[in-house]
Symmetry: D3
Amino acid sequence: MAPKVITFGEILMRLAAPGHDRLAQANAFNIRYGGGEANVAAALAQMGIPAAHVTVFPDNDLGRAAAATFRQAGVDDGHFMYGPGRMGLYFMETGAGFRPSRIVYDRYGSAFARLNPADFNWDEILASASWLHWTGITPAISAAAAEACGQAIQAARRLGLMVSADVNYRRVLWQYGQKATDVMPPLVAGCDVVVCTQDDAADLFGIQSESFEDMAGQLRQRFPELKTVLATRRESLGASHNRLTGLCYTDEGYGESPTFEINPIVDRIGGGDAFFAGWIYGALQLGNQREALAFAAAASAWKHLVVGDFNLATAVEIQQVVDGDLSGRLLR
Amino acid sequence: MAPKVITFGEILMRLAAPGHDRLAQANAFNIRYGGGEANVAAALAQMGIPAAHVTVFPDNDLGRAAAATFRQAGVDDGHFMYGPGRMGLYFMETGAGFRPSRIVYDRYGSAFARLNPADFNWDEILASASWLHWTGITPAISAAAAEACGQAIQAARRLGLMVSADVNYRRVLWQYGQKATDVMPPLVAGCDVVVCTQDDAADLFGIQSESFEDMAGQLRQRFPELKTVLATRRESLGASHNRLTGLCYTDEGYGESPTFEINPIVDRIGGGDAFFAGWIYGALQLGNQREALAFAAAASAWKHLVVGDFNLATAVEIQQVVDGDLSGRLLR
Amino acid sequence: MAPKVITFGEILMRLAAPGHDRLAQANAFNIRYGGGEANVAAALAQMGIPAAHVTVFPDNDLGRAAAATFRQAGVDDGHFMYGPGRMGLYFMETGAGFRPSRIVYDRYGSAFARLNPADFNWDEILASASWLHWTGITPAISAAAAEACGQAIQAARRLGLMVSADVNYRRVLWQYGQKATDVMPPLVAGCDVVVCTQDDAADLFGIQSESFEDMAGQLRQRFPELKTVLATRRESLGASHNRLTGLCYTDEGYGESPTFEINPIVDRIGGGDAFFAGWIYGALQLGNQREALAFAAAASAWKHLVVGDFNLATAVEIQQVVDGDLSGRLLR
Amino acid sequence: MAPKVITFGEILMRLAAPGHDRLAQANAFNIRYGGGEANVAAALAQMGIPAAHVTVFPDNDLGRAAAATFRQAGVDDGHFMYGPGRMGLYFMETGAGFRPSRIVYDRYGSAFARLNPADFNWDEILASASWLHWTGITPAISAAAAEACGQAIQAARRLGLMVSADVNYRRVLWQYGQKATDVMPPLVAGCDVVVCTQDDAADLFGIQSESFEDMAGQLRQRFPELKTVLATRRESLGASHNRLTGLCYTDEGYGESPTFEINPIVDRIGGGDAFFAGWIYGALQLGNQREALAFAAAASAWKHLVVGDFNLATAVEIQQVVDGDLSGRLLR
Amino acid sequence: MAPKVITFGEILMRLAAPGHDRLAQANAFNIRYGGGEANVAAALAQMGIPAAHVTVFPDNDLGRAAAATFRQAGVDDGHFMYGPGRMGLYFMETGAGFRPSRIVYDRYGSAFARLNPADFNWDEILASASWLHWTGITPAISAAAAEACGQAIQAARRLGLMVSADVNYRRVLWQYGQKATDVMPPLVAGCDVVVCTQDDAADLFGIQSESFEDMAGQLRQRFPELKTVLATRRESLGASHNRLTGLCYTDEGYGESPTFEINPIVDRIGGGDAFFAGWIYGALQLGNQREALAFAAAASAWKHLVVGDFNLATAVEIQQVVDGDLSGRLLR
Amino acid sequence: MAPKVITFGEILMRLAAPGHDRLAQANAFNIRYGGGEANVAAALAQMGIPAAHVTVFPDNDLGRAAAATFRQAGVDDGHFMYGPGRMGLYFMETGAGFRPSRIVYDRYGSAFARLNPADFNWDEILASASWLHWTGITPAISAAAAEACGQAIQAARRLGLMVSADVNYRRVLWQYGQKATDVMPPLVAGCDVVVCTQDDAADLFGIQSESFEDMAGQLRQRFPELKTVLATRRESLGASHNRLTGLCYTDEGYGESPTFEINPIVDRIGGGDAFFAGWIYGALQLGNQREALAFAAAASAWKHLVVGDFNLATAVEIQQVVDGDLSGRLLR
């Protein structure tokens, strides 16, 4: 099947201390692979939506292992490229109760950061697709990545695709000499849908707001193409107990999903990516915004209950949660 | 010591994904063995009640491993038989929060299903025993298993043993051409004690009821030998948090045990079998029905806190919970 | 750096069943090393306080492994000795919910129990230190250990060190022929600070009390050098859910720390030792008793969230909890 | 890339006892997936030859996991189908020295055995390919599988593909009522290349022979389309030490590869499949039969040194062995 | 089945570092249970010979786990007793090549050492048996163990059982005040069959010899009841490569078994016990001394290829090795 | 004890695939830490020679874990520094037979590469030492590292220490703009002892040679301070079977150690470092060059039989091998 959704971004190797071991205490690391955009593609593939990811891996065993992992997850590998540079890594330990989980990044100098924008023929890549998704991490990695991201967005608009982004501003990543406040606005201007927090809006676009609703309204005014602003509200009662609600602001106004209780959290990583995958699924398959938002929030909550960076849940499983089956009763 | 309690039924190999891995994600399966009836025998052995299990294993390494596991648990192996056919299996993944645990069965064509009723000399098997226990899974497996089960019950009655059963109706299992509604009533008619839910009573015996008490009353009328009807009420707050209450209806009327909070659940499987083992222990060792019911419910709750299909708890440990020590304080 | 804090006591090997396996069910044991006094030294080292531990290990691979573990944790090994005798052990299984964790000790005949008091030149050992810490386990192990402990306390007083102890009365340990009620009072008389429960005060010093405050007041009267009496109040809602509060009685009167919720507990062992390490840190680094008590209680709670006998948390991490950050939010 | 090589056959789940544990001793099984034909496709994908596998998986989590594993390995999944039936399994323990490795099969009733030949549009499946590969296991599984296999071979001949087979006669598998001696000859008649042992030739085709060369000559006479007969000679010095030589008989006459010493064997399974994959690679990429045979034998030997059912070696790695680098020196 | 062979001795818990980890490097220990006499019983049970072991375990979880392990292995538990004292332990690391494996014992003060001879009613224990087996470790452990051993031997002779022993002199064990040279001769005098090395004969009985044959002849003269003297000759080419030959001297004169190559060794422990179990099997089931000796040597070699203290091999598997199948070829 | 031997260089984290897994196949990596120079210090510490290592770690959890590992091994941590930059890594898979082990380095941008030479007060660092050891990896890492290395050598000569180096030329490492042929000669000129291969001598110093002896002679002429030239000759019969011989050329002429057979190899890494540690031990503790060389070669061989980057063997254990005990017999 031709991929419907195209995602673009870096994939990292996750090296996680087992159980609740501290990083300095671990004798082994469990290996997973993930990326804010590829996680969306993988989650969509689990839900039966054909999805392809576009990226550059290092041309070594680690890069090939990362590629194989996403192929295993059902992501179309037609635009996996290999280039010079290293595999970006992150090291993780898992907290409990009030002890936070911690991540140590080690991602500079990656093959993705060293990509060549000229290697991407976006018209061909996006030819048969209907949706392009990116996140604010991609333009933060390098000037080349930002340039490629911009070209992808332009091509997508030209070809009439939906364009979505998780704005996801991480100050510490922006180290290649350009400012996020310069780079991000034109990219977001090309989007139909974004996840954006009030803090991100303030930091990147100078939007001061009193509420998500207020911010979303200002953001839509600032970027006329932007129809939908999304976010999640997370109540953190501990590293293993959260409550999650989806927020949404569109032409139909402001909406909130039901709040999902997540206890105990199995793996916190990728919750936001699962939310966006859920929203895309909802936009493509479900009747309306309210249902899509509930589905997105339930998908995000589901992700917290499986191991790995991306969501291993079918659309049916997520819909059962949306429909209120929260008992966790054994299925035989 | 001569076994007091005889159980009869199939033993399966459990292949469980580690931690909370999804089945399709696991790189290894942990191996356990269990069966609804053998689990009762093993739990009784832990509590010091001599128990023997009667079954047929496949005549291969897996069958011998299953047999050895129950011998290790203290179950008398004097009536372990080996025959043609395969080892019945089930694959399991463990949920968390609202994500349910799931089981995939792979049990058709097992050695037990292919048993020969003529191989069982029930008069000899039951000679020195005082109790026979079976479950509704056994007659569901094959016509031969149902026939052997009926012969066992008749012999037990003839020899004056107590007969108990967990009715446990699983529609999907009944595939050999006879109807559960035909097969089960004469078997249940031979019982003194059963665990039966309102749903089971409706499905198997056409008993419509407004409450457990109502159903139990009708059931006793329908089956005159039946003195005691038991059940558990499970409040499922998630895959890792349940509340459990034991229910009982006898000549002395309706009773409820205290409600036990189980959080976090370590292993959900075999909770019902541990309940029945607790009841049998109580009937043999404790003063009255109220104490037996509390013991049975506490035993079932205890099972949720240990790994494996059968309960690894001593009578003293269970009694401490009955007596109200729920603090989980470290014992040095 | 010259060690500021000197601790003295036995180190045991912990052999723990994995996950929630029962001891009789385990196929492997995880190995850790700990001791009530050495755990204090290790925790202090994590917090940047130079600490040395004084002990005798068996002169074999196990003793050397134990020594290396504490060296790895940053504990000064200048006074690690090796002698005849075995490694003291304890076997552990981890409970859940109302199922308690259990410890089986196997520590008699250890190299530490067989120490020779003449081997310790306390004036030299304590030369550049400012604090000596011991616990009531040490004098319980053997007459020789009690004698060495007394000599250490006398030397410490002579040299002007602070002396602290966790009274920690364990009846079953006292088997070498002397009575705890004879041995402990003169040792406690040499202390400035102790952790002591009402039960310990009653059993060891015959102090009957109505409250911690009452007991602490009597204890200070009985032992004039004693300025500070500490304890923790633990509300046990299950093996994996506790609430912990620090208690303190000094010249400034009675104080209580905030109560810390610990859920889920990762590893219960060493909580008391982390409390004492937190108090010593507070006494050396923080402004006042209230801050030190809050820090000690938070340190103890933190310990429950990491694996192993001693606390692997930095002073900054503990202070964040004292400062109210209990959300467990992911730190990137 | 369009697949060049198409393989057709069943994929099984391997459940292997860790290390050298006996099956009855294992506490866990390591999970792998493999099949005599799919292993060829996976090995070819590692060597850069586009390959697709055609099969039917059970429509459950195990089937999807098996599919994902081969997708991960780079096998084209365009003709993975899902149907009713179970996952075929095999249980394995690994010997050492004179102790043999053992396999317990549990594969009856599989989804593949229950395939519907009408579901395969071979003209479309084989459209852009140049090679079809099957083994004698496929027609042994069920009448339906044999029928589909025959249709595939006919279509392949019609479309001008090379057709190859590993004759691989396993008496115990043929249980569906037809005789291998009836079914196999017309299938082999459609082949250009086969692996066949002297025993297989005797059992299946009644060919009595004095040597591989003799047998191969008779086989070519019997089946005029058959140009190439292959085999391996295995000298078994123990479960962990073998010597392997490739044998080949073609128009150019009889040839032998160098003999490769394999010590210690890491994983014996799939050695024959790796041999055939090596031969196909050689036929497509190398200059002549001698080079292809050496490559095939080296590929087979390489497989014994990696874990899993299929060969995880690149063409470069295998060629280095062919070129005589047998030192195993560390590559930095 | 009534046990034919009765063994008497201590069972220890083995704590082994994984893989080739040094003891001081291990993070976990694998748990096994074994004993020089119980290993014989377990091996016999695998070969279908009913065997019971007589011992005293500590009355705690470790003792019960040890008991369960031998029950699992098919050993009759009718004379398992529980008493005060600890579980004897040994710690092990596994060498490779010229690096030796090492054992650190920690067995003093065990429940077995503290047994009460009056607790054993040997006439009843041995009633239906035909063979009693003990080793020189038992009388080395404590005066009480030596006394019980002597009583067992006397009862066995009185009842007409065969009596066998592995003389197995370990100097370091004899620490309870009596001399092996005083204790052992009267015990050996009651034996029909012994394993004895030239060194043991010299140390215990003052027999100087030039060869095994010479020693065996002198030993038979010294102990008139003694008909058969056995030993193994082990050529150690490294920790993972040995050659093993069985030696035997009887009325029929001196004999040697074939030499078995063992490479790689999986687990060296219990090789001697497997030899004796093989001899007993041979004496009970095979035609003559030559066959029994070959079977015993093959059984011992087999043991080196499985994990654990006792031999997990069937009589059929061992006989295949005796019959010359040393290829280790995969059995499907 | 004041350290006698000072080593200087980078420490890397090793991430190794378990067993013989390929890198792209692994689900977890085992964590070890090592470095060509630190491995020498750690091995010396095992042999009772006080040794300190000088290095810069990244100021994060990984750096602290690396530091703790060497502290655990008994290396003096008095000159462990922490600075900006990342942890250097290497990924490893372990071959078997003719399949080579492979390493993927990921070490650029490390904290050590970014060291500031001004941070090292070599006069103080070397004050009480008698030996300085470095390797050719250190000056290859960065200009700063090369500068610090030169300063260390000069200070050592000034203070009268022995200076040794493993020349260890790795072309691919030299990427900071200076040529090894310019940087290395003045550093080697300050050495008393070096390990140098004929290839290294040719590449670095333009010395063409016919034999080790020839090369060593020329090298000594070229560098007048250089008294001793060492090397090992490795015969590689496979990734798990090597033969190793120590070579040495001094005033006393050319010498060879016995050849040690290593089979099976447990862990190949660090064999050269263990050789040098053995030589230093020999130079400090043994009588003459012949004994030192035999000890060095045996130490190197020993290292291949333990897991990890540095040698975990005592001087006694190594001496036993030198003395000819190669049987690997179990030590109780």
